[in-house]
Symmetry: D2
C-alpha cells in the first residue's frame, strides 16, 4: 500500500493519555491490524517524543503532528523538520487548528516537506482557506471546521457543503491534491458520507482514541467504504 493511497484514515493522537507512550505503541499496533484486516490505508500522527518507538514497532505511515518553520540552528524547543525525517517519519500534519501557523510559515513548511520527501497534510478551516493553500500543492488538504472538533457532530452531516465545495475549489486549482475532512467523525456512516461528498478520507482523533475498544472502532469506521 503506498503511503498516500486513498481512501485514507489519519488518526491524530493529540496529547491524550490513551495515545501517549506505552498506550501510543499499543494503539499503533491496533491501527496496523485494523488496516491489514480491512485493506484500508491508515496513518497515525503521534506526539514527536513517541515517533521513534512507534516507527520501530509498526509498518504504517507515521506522521508528525507539527513541524516548526525553522532551519537547523539555535531554536531550543522547536520541532526541526530534518529531525522528523531522521527518525523515518513518513510525513507531517501542518497548521492543525490546535497549532495554527502564519501564512508565510505554512508556505515554508510545505516546501520543506517536499524537499525532505515528507507527506504533507495541510489542515484548513473553511472553503476559502482551502482554496488559498491549494496553490502550495500539499499532498493532502484536510478541511476541519474548528467549531465541530471534538463534538461528535460529524462535519459530513453538520456542514456537507463545506466538504463538497472545498473539493471543488481545490480541484479547480490542482486536481492532484487529495481532500480529507475532519471534525466530529466517529462512525462508519460518517466516513461513508465524507467519501460521498468527494473527500478521499478523514482525519480524526477522540472518536477512536476515547473508544472503549479502539481496534473495533477503527474496523467499524471503515466498514461501509
Amino acid at each position: 500500500m503506498s503511503k498516500t493511497e486513498t481512501p485514507i484514515i489519519i488518526l491524530n493522537y493529540k496529547t491524550y493519555m490513551e495515545s501517549t507512550g506505552k498506550n501510543a505503541i499499543q494503539l499503533s499496533k491496533y491501527v496496523q491490524e485494523a488496516s491489514q484486516e480491512t485493506g484500508v490505508n491508515m496513518a497515525i500522527a503521534p506526539q514527536a517524543v513517541d515517533l521513534y518507538p512507534i516507527i520501530n514497532e509498526v509498518d504504517i505511515p507515521v506522521y508528525s503532528q507539527h513541524m516548526d518553520a525553522v532551519s537547523p540552528g539555535g531554536h531550543t524547543g522547536s520541532t526541526l523538520p530534518e529531525a522528523i525525517k531522521q527518525v523515518n517519519a513518513s510525513g507531517t500534519l501542518i497548521n492543525h487548528s490546535e497549532k495554527r501557523m502564519t501564512l508565510a510559515d505554512i508556505d515554508a513548511i510545505v516546501e520543506k516537506a517536499k524537499e525532505l520527501d515528507l507527506v504533507s497534510v495541510l489542515c484548513t478551516n473553511n472553503v476559502k482557506t482551502s482554496a488559498a493553500v491549494a496553490s502550495f500543492n500539499p499532498d493532502f488538504i484536510a478541511i476541519e471546521p474548528p467549531e465541530l472538533i471534538g463534538t461528535g457532530i460529524p462535519v459530513s452531516k453538520a456542514d456537507p457543503d463545506v466538504v463538497s465545495n472545498s473539493v471543488d475549489e481545490i480541484h479547480k486549482i490542482n486536481k492532484d491534491i487529495s481532500v480529507l475532512c475532519g471534525a466530529g467523525i466517529s462512525t462508519g456512516e460518517d466516513v461513508k458520507a465524507a467519501l460521498e461528498l468527494g473527500s478521499e478520507g478523514v482525519l480524526l482523533a477522540s472518536g477512536i482514541i476515547k473508544a472503549e475498544d479502539q481496534k473495533q472502532a477503527l474496523i467499524d469506521l471503515v466498514s461501509l467504504i
Copy 2:
C-alpha cells in the same frame, strides 16, 4: 552520581544538525564518556523526537528542551509533560530564551515537573527575573543574558556581576536552588570563572556542539574544575 549533583554541565542540543538524530546519539555517547573520564556530572537536552533513542543508549541525565503547560487532551503539536516522563527523561529546561513562556505557565510547569519527579532547569535573563522565580523552587536556575547567547563572549567575563548577584538574590529566597550560568561559555577558563562567581555549573550549546572534537571540547571544558 545523582542526577542533580554539582558541578554540572548541561549541554543544550538545540536544533543543530550536529546534535540531531544519529549525530545526537553519537554526541550523547561522547558526553557520557567525558563524564565518566572526568567524574563531572554532565546532562544533555536533546530535541523531543530524539529523547527516546538517546535514553536507550546512554546512562546520563537526559532533559527535554521544553514542556508545554498543557494537560492531557486535545493539544495537537504540544509537548505533553506526561509524555516526556514516560520515555524516562530525567528533567526539562523551562523558559529558555529561545522558548520563552508566560509567568503563569512557568509556575504551572515547575509544579508539573515536581509532580512528575522531573528535574527543573528554569532559565532566566537577569538578576531580577532570577529572584522572582526563586519562589517557584525549581531545582536549578540558569541565568543567561540573551544578548551573549551564541557569541562566544562568556557571561563570566562580560558580566560577572549578573552571575554573582543572581546567586546572592536567589539564595536569599531559597538556599537549595543550584544556580547555573550560560551564554558564551566554551572553555575551561569560562567554567572555572563561572564556578568562582558562585554558580554550580553551566548551560551551554554551540561552544561544544560546533567543536571539531566534541568529546575533547567537553574534557577541556571541565579541566580546571
Copy 3:
C-alpha cells in the same frame, strides 16, 4: 485625589461594544461622575485607540490595557510605551490574563513604566506568581484567578484565601505595593469582602460594562466601603 489613592476601582473596558468608541466616552463620563459623587478613586482602561478622545473628555486616571515590551523602531502593530505616554495616559495594565506576557517582558515593561512615570497594574493568577513579581515593585498587583473571570462568581467569596494570602506574601516582599483583586466582582458586597481580605481595590469589567445602568452599578459597587 492622587492617581494611586486607594481604595481604587479599576474598570477594564476590554473590547466590549458597550465600552468602545462613543460608548466608551459616555461610560468614562459616568465613571467620573460616580467617582466625584462617591469620593472613591476610579480609574479606567479603554482600548488604545480610544485613549486620546477619552483623556480629552475626563479627568480621572486612564490606563492602557497593555503595552508591548518594544523600543521605538520597526514594530508594526505594537503598542509602544512612549506612544501611550504621549497621549497622557496615567498608567497601564500589564499581563492581563487575556494578554499574558513572558516573564522577561513583564520585567522589562514594569521598568519602562517607571521610566515613563506610568502607574503599573500588574495582573497575576495566584499567590505564587503574585509573590514572584512583587520584587519587580509595580504600583499595583491585581490578582485574578482566571477561572472566575466573567463568571459573576466573586473571587472574594469563591476563593478568599487567594486574596488574603497574596496580600501577605506580597507585603512580605514589599509593603508599598497595593494589592487589588478581580474576577467575578459586580456588587457592593463583593467589593466590601475584597477590602476586608486586605486588598485595596478591585479590577473589574463585565459586571459594570454590561449593567443596564452603568453609572448606578458603579455607585452601588462602592456603597458599602
Copy 4:
C-alpha cells in the same frame, strides 16, 4: 481623490519616535501637503493610539497597522476592528511581516474589513503567498520580501521578478486587486521601477520617516511618476 486611487504611496509609521504622538501629527500634515502638491494619492498607517488625533487633523486615507481577528467581548489589549471603524479610519494593514497572522485569521480579518467597509492592505512575502491570498479578494496586496525591509536595498532592484510575477499570479486570480510592493524603497527611482514592474504603488516606512526633510523626501519619492 478616491481612497484607493492608484498610484498610491502608503507610509507605515511603525513605532518610530519620528512618527509617534506629536511627531505623527506633524508628519501626517506633511503627507497631506505632499499629496496635494503632487496630486499623488498618499495614505498613512499610524499606531492605533494615534489614529484619532491624526484623523481629526488631516483629510487623507488613514489606516490601522493591524486589527485582531476578535469579536467584541473579553479581549483585553486587542485591537477591535469595530473600534478602528468608529474613529473613522479608512482601512488597515493586515499580516505585516512584523505582525504575521495565521491563515485562518487573515481570512477572517479581510472579511471583517469588507463588512466594515475598511480598505484592506494585505501584506505577503513572496509570489506563492501572494497568489494564495488573492482569492480572499483584498483591496491591495503588498508584497514585501522580509529580508529587504529596512535595508535601503529596493525590492524593485534586488528582486524585480518577485514584483512582476506577483502581479501576474494575483491578476490571474483577480484582476481587481491592486498590487503594491515594499521593502527598501526610498527614492523616486525606486518608485518608478516599482510601477514599471506592474505594481500600482509602494508601502514604505524608514526611507521617509528617518529622512531629514520628510516632506521633501515624499515629494522626491513621486517625482518620476
